[in-house]
């Protein structure tokens, strides 16, 4: 009884956090449209990132102490693996930080002229995918393999939607509007290159995340994960949320901050 209560409380928590994130994203969008207040946008992005880090990526698990001190046990290895994964993400975040530095150095308070509806759309899709990812991981932690697989499929489809939305639609529309990668246009200057570089690097990470999801889905199908032992699932989920986390900063950096430079 208490087990299933736990489960529904946890699922409920996922819904609430998702609602917060949605509300903050809408707030962010209107702040940008109405006041163009960069510090406020940064605060909102940090708030969103904190929610994702804590409730979706469960960063607090890094604090867990060993229940089993035998170095060969699954529990001990999981804590070691978790540390390794987070250090990898720390390292990877330096790439994205570097891209943000480049963006602020080259563009300052300007940004590319992009399709706002599409931008908000892909952002929403990625956010929703994180919601399902979290749900899937929770179900796995309660031993519901079928539920996990179902939610992972939804996550995968949304993730693919994001990827195609950016690379096929967004890139094409941007190119059509005259935003070229080679900075060729003297009016737009470097915005094109920065835009393609940042979205490209992020899309590459989404792509690897999709492969990761497919792998854990397949292994779940083979029955390799249980409520107690599913490190692979946790890793895929944390990685997926990390990709979302990066977009939380990239979205305002590319779509909201500063004034748009039109290619025309």
């Amino acid at each position: 009884m208490s087990h299933s209560q736990n489960k529904s409380a946890a699922l409920m928590q996922g819904v609430i956090i998702f609602i917060y994130l949605t509300a903050l994203t809408i707030l962010e969008y209107f702040v940008a449209v109405a006041f163009d207040a960069v510090p406020l946008l940064i605060v909102v992005a940090i708030a969103k990132a904190a929610l994702v880090l804590y409730y979706f990526m469960h960063i607090y698990k890094l604090n867990e102490t060993d229940s089993d001190t035998n170095h060969d046990s699954y529990a001990y290895k999981t804590i070691t693996n978790r540390l390794g994964l987070w250090l990898f993400l720390l390292s990877d975040s330096f790439v994205f930080a570097g891209l943000l530095v480049m963006r602020s150095n080259l563009l300052g308070l300007t940004r590319p002229e992009l399709n706002q509806v599409l931008g908000l759309g892909v952002t929403a899709v990625l956010l929703i995918s994180s919601f399902f990812m979290n749900r899937g991981e929770l179900l796995m932690a309660h031993g519901d393999v079928k539920g996990f697989m179902r939610n992972t499929v939804i996550t995968f489809i949304l993730g693919l939607g994001f990827l195609l939305g950016v690379v096929l639609l967004e890139w094409r529309i941007a190119a059509h509007e005259g935003l070229t990668a080679d900075f060729g246009n003297p009016v737009t200057g470097p915005v094109g290159g920065v835009f393609y570089m940042m979205t490209g690097m992020h899309a590459f990470h989404v792509f690897t995340g999709l492969i990761f999801l497919a792998v854990v889905w397949n292994n779940a199908r083979k029955g390799l994960y249980t409520a107690e032992q599913h490190w692979g699932v946790e890793a895929a989920a944390v990685y997926w949320h990390f990709v979302d986390l990066v977009w939380i900063f990239f979205y305002p950096a590319l779509y909201l901050i500063g004034t748009a430079v039109s290619a025309h």
Binding site: D72, G84, F94, M102, G192, V215
Partner: protein, 631 residues
Amino acid sequence: MKKFFTSALFKGLVWQVIGFFIGASLVTGIRALMGLSTTDTFFFTEPAWVLGSFIGAISFLVGCGVTDDWIKWARGIETHDEHEEHWHGWEKFINVSFDHKVIGIQYTLIALALLAIGGTFALIFRTELAASQLQFLTTEFQLFGQNGPQLYNTLMSLHGIVMIISILLGISGIINYAVPLLIGAADMSFPRLNAFSYWIAVPAAVTLISSLFLGGFDTGWTGYPPLSSRAPVGMQMFFMGVFIAGWSSILGALNVVVTVIRMRAKGMAAMKMPIFVWASLATSIIAMTATQFIGLAFQLVMFQRLFGMGFFDPSKGGNPVLFQHLFWFYSHPAVYVFILPGLGVISELLPVFVRKPLYGYRWIAMSSIGIALVGFVVWAHHMFTSGMNEYLRVPFMYSTLLVSVPTGVKFFSWVATMWKGKISTPTPMLFVLGAIIVFLMGGLSGPPHATVSTDLHLHDTYFVVGHFHDTIFGGFVFPFFAAIYYWFPKATGRRMSEFWGKVHFWLMTPSFFVLTFGMMYVGLLGMRRRIADYDPALGLDTAHLVLTIGAFLIALSVLIFFINFFYSIKNGEKAEGNIWESRSPEWQVPSPMSLHNYPTPIEVVGEPYDYGLKDAPYTRFAPASKGKGKH
């Protein structure tokens, strides 16, 4: 020979070539379809070379078999850890092994190979510098699509970067070999990742050196645009090689951090870790994070060349100074990556040969971390003349001078440790002492660069070159040799010849001083760096001739080292016991170590450096406990 042709190394190389051709043909095919040119000076077009070399590197890794287990995991197949050794003798080192000791030696061997290659490059261009005017690298001279002065630039640039990669692999070698032993672990936390980090360095080195044959590059190891956006295709191979080697550094460092946090023996609290472990931790924290910045900076130039994205091209709205910021944000901390392990070796070995406790253990441990952290906020001292905002000069000057404080702490500790000690001077100790003195010279020649008013004159002269050779030899080369002489018996059960070790030291050290003081001297008199020729009117011919002779003497001493090294593996005097009378746990068991290191787990019961104290052991073997298995 047959064993070689079936080894992972050979398979990997073959696959690298195959992968290269697949990637290059793919690009060529697509270009043909798009109606673009399909051939260029070096047969393939530049995009074909770039994608080909990238796919080649990946093919190497898959082909050599280091990713086999991961592929199995991804397909849901379980794998088992090895419990006995697969390969014997030299075959171990050209096949995939997950044993940290084998990997440590593999790293050391490739580092030595690159040291020899990079050193040869230096001898060639040093010979050209022996007299003013161009002697053999003349404008009529042609090789690999480059004329003499161009080849000079390529050799100079390759010397720099090959040596740097050699250093990164060399420190990985010592760290991989020693850290798990020092903390009493059976292996690293992620043995497969560890093997991967090593093997990725092999295609990286191949890619890097291939630039010599593809027109070379003339930017120096820093690869600044705009020059690097115009240099021949070799430039791309340089960027790609460093990018791939960067992954070796990042993943290897990550493994070290996790291992130090998770795998320490019972009772080894943070303040009881050997100093070398602290140093490795500090180094790894930098390598794991900052390396991403150089990777990114190089990628951006690669894309700038491939797609015309002018990130660093002012005519397109880009900013070349941005590159320098991204580059030095890694490359300054990287100089601490080079030296911290070496300084750790000094602190680790000094008490052994002085028979006294290490002075100020806590301060030394913290100084490594302190250097690592302060090292992140000094990068723009390389850019005083770059045209960056002038107001940035002052804060960077002070932050740079601040680094001398934790560095000075180390010197105080070393001197105090030696004070009234019973000093003995076998070869490893000689190199430790040499390291301290040489590094002091490097440290003293640093502040004149850090001070804006003097650096404006010294920048881009040979004075800088003298400075960093001192720091790198003191912080890496001397300690690296010390570590090899010291741990060689642990790895092989034999020791290297003392006599030839001493010859190596007494030949190398004075020649080295001639070389670096000479560099500083000609630098102060107006010799520019990175240049094939100089004006006879400078009057530096004699000085340069002496420098060149010094360089050849160093090379001779290193040659002696190499012969001693390879000869002693089979023929050295047997040394299976604790020949240095060290307190460190790895010396309490016979050499060479067995596969999973310690027969029973060790436990820390005392302080690491209580030399000279009776009945105060550092570690002991834990009484066999039930159910704990192999650990």
